[in-house]
Symmetry: C2
Subunit: 359 residues, 2 copies
Amino acid sequence: MSATVFSYTQLVHFTEQVFLSMGCSPVHAALATKTLLSADLRGIDSHGVARLSGYVRLWQAGRINATPNIAITHETPSTAVVNGDAGLGLVVAPFAMEVAMKKAENVGTGWVTVKNSNHFGIAGYHAMMALEKDMIGIAMTNASALVAPTFSVEKMLGTNPIAVAIPAGDQPAFVADLATTTAANGKLEILQRKNAETPLGWVQDQEGGHSTDAHILKKGGALLPLGSDREHGSHKGYALGSVVDIFSAVLSGASYGPWAPPFPAYIPLPDNMPGEGLGHFLGAMRIDAFRTADEFKWHMDNWITRFRAAKPIAGQEKVLIPGDPEREMTTIRLETGIPLVAAVLDDLLQVGKLFGVNL
Amino acid sequence: MSATVFSYTQLVHFTEQVFLSMGCSPVHAALATKTLLSADLRGIDSHGVARLSGYVRLWQAGRINATPNIAITHETPSTAVVNGDAGLGLVVAPFAMEVAMKKAENVGTGWVTVKNSNHFGIAGYHAMMALEKDMIGIAMTNASALVAPTFSVEKMLGTNPIAVAIPAGDQPAFVADLATTTAANGKLEILQRKNAETPLGWVQDQEGGHSTDAHILKKGGALLPLGSDREHGSHKGYALGSVVDIFSAVLSGASYGPWAPPFPAYIPLPDNMPGEGLGHFLGAMRIDAFRTADEFKWHMDNWITRFRAAKPIAGQEKVLIPGDPEREMTTIRLETGIPLVAAVLDDLLQVGKLFGVNL
């Protein structure tokens, strides 16, 4: 596939102008841009600038408030509920993570659940905010229902990611960021563009049968929970995705399960939504609320070094630490730029035209 | 397979006598029994009374202290580190969970990491302690290394379970309790007894190749992380198992990764253990630290009812809520008793003989 390469700075400038044109404050436009493009830097192309037009369309549909009054509506020393006021998740979630970290400073840990928000980009960005403060960061979100629980034909859950960022010493941080499905939706999108089939175990058809059709979601099919089928533990992926849904949305008062608001603006909101908007769950744990940061980091380095040295299977890659591929991609893309496939570029040019912004 | 059925009360009496004979206090013997047998009631036969002889052998080997001085060694308002003093995890983990719940009462949530412990039975038991206090309970533990990370020949992680218990209203509680592997070790043990093969994707051989041999762990093979292979997301199961290891053992000062102390007493302790004993991580979140318990429970009932009503795949089971099968099994086994296969019964009779206790 042909791709045009843009520097990170070019995409930052363009994206910021778009958010400003939507009416975001300069601070929010800069933050939303940084959050969104962290996905492109980390190589998670489905969640970065490729989604910008989606946010614009949600704003056009009146589902995103560009000037939200993001506020704490309930709190205890270690917890809070944040109302995102229908703002961009890209700015609502960092607000909530700051609250969590402040609480962790005060009482050891902080846990914040968020309602009335929108798509927050990659979970890893929010979890990683904790690293520079010597805290462990945790981030989850619910999302549009694309996933069928074990034994279900119906789509009931989003790809509901879990991210955990853990500081180390001389070694780079441990950063896990995973959809609770076998394959993230972004991987399907890549196969769709190539007109290629999925491996067995990624999706099911409209009757719950086996499928390798990368377009099956548009035909009533569904993504499968991590584990693929009952025999290989799909009930575990389903349970993990459910925990993310409940922590993010039932605990906060957001709309959960099959009622989660869809990302594509052309899909109508579900009837009888039981809560407000999308939900997130953010956590921060101060390392020295458990043991000294120096001691902990020494052992994390030891952990990472030992795992990296695990004997690899002949002919396969070496054993990786969660976060390795994304960190390496960030280095590459900051140096050589971010490639955009033609479909994404066309989409961005349309967005630029709408607001009179050049890419 | 032939099985002999015992009432729950019979097994309680026998198990308690065994723990008392090891020198446990009456309070500890009763608690350890309740924790251990919760597995048999819930149908997780691999983690219940079938393990009693394993605990006895660890005690004989001097690796379990029957009269531990379990103590908090560090704390903040929302966190604590507990030193289990080499006690039974079956009593150490409930102590730690009580500390977590006390902290949740005070500041909204409580998070306790534990070092110098031993196998704690099923994670679900500890998580479920939170339910009656209108709290969400979380429990994790690291364990003997039986699992190969993605691309690794070497076994680096335990089956490292995650349990999350969430209260509901009229509906029974949501209780997820899952090993972060495709199949728990207990499922292998069942196949071993039947001389049956495993499905593909549960285990790998000593070179990291495909295997369906249920005995492969004794031949240098390994269990696979949830996801089975890279294409189906095994890097996610590996990341989740790693998070459990780090929260349970690196954060607490227990021995982590391939250095986790093995459960079978005949396996020597690893050289250069970087910490003390096994580690656990327990968490409690007060529901009303986020929203009123009544409101939350109404929405959990709504969540559960909607998921149960999801359209099922023709010819398959109805859609289940995590915890459904275990709760139904508990009802059955309290009424009709707990079946023990011949190998387990023989083992228990040997233990009984050792201490002069009749089953």
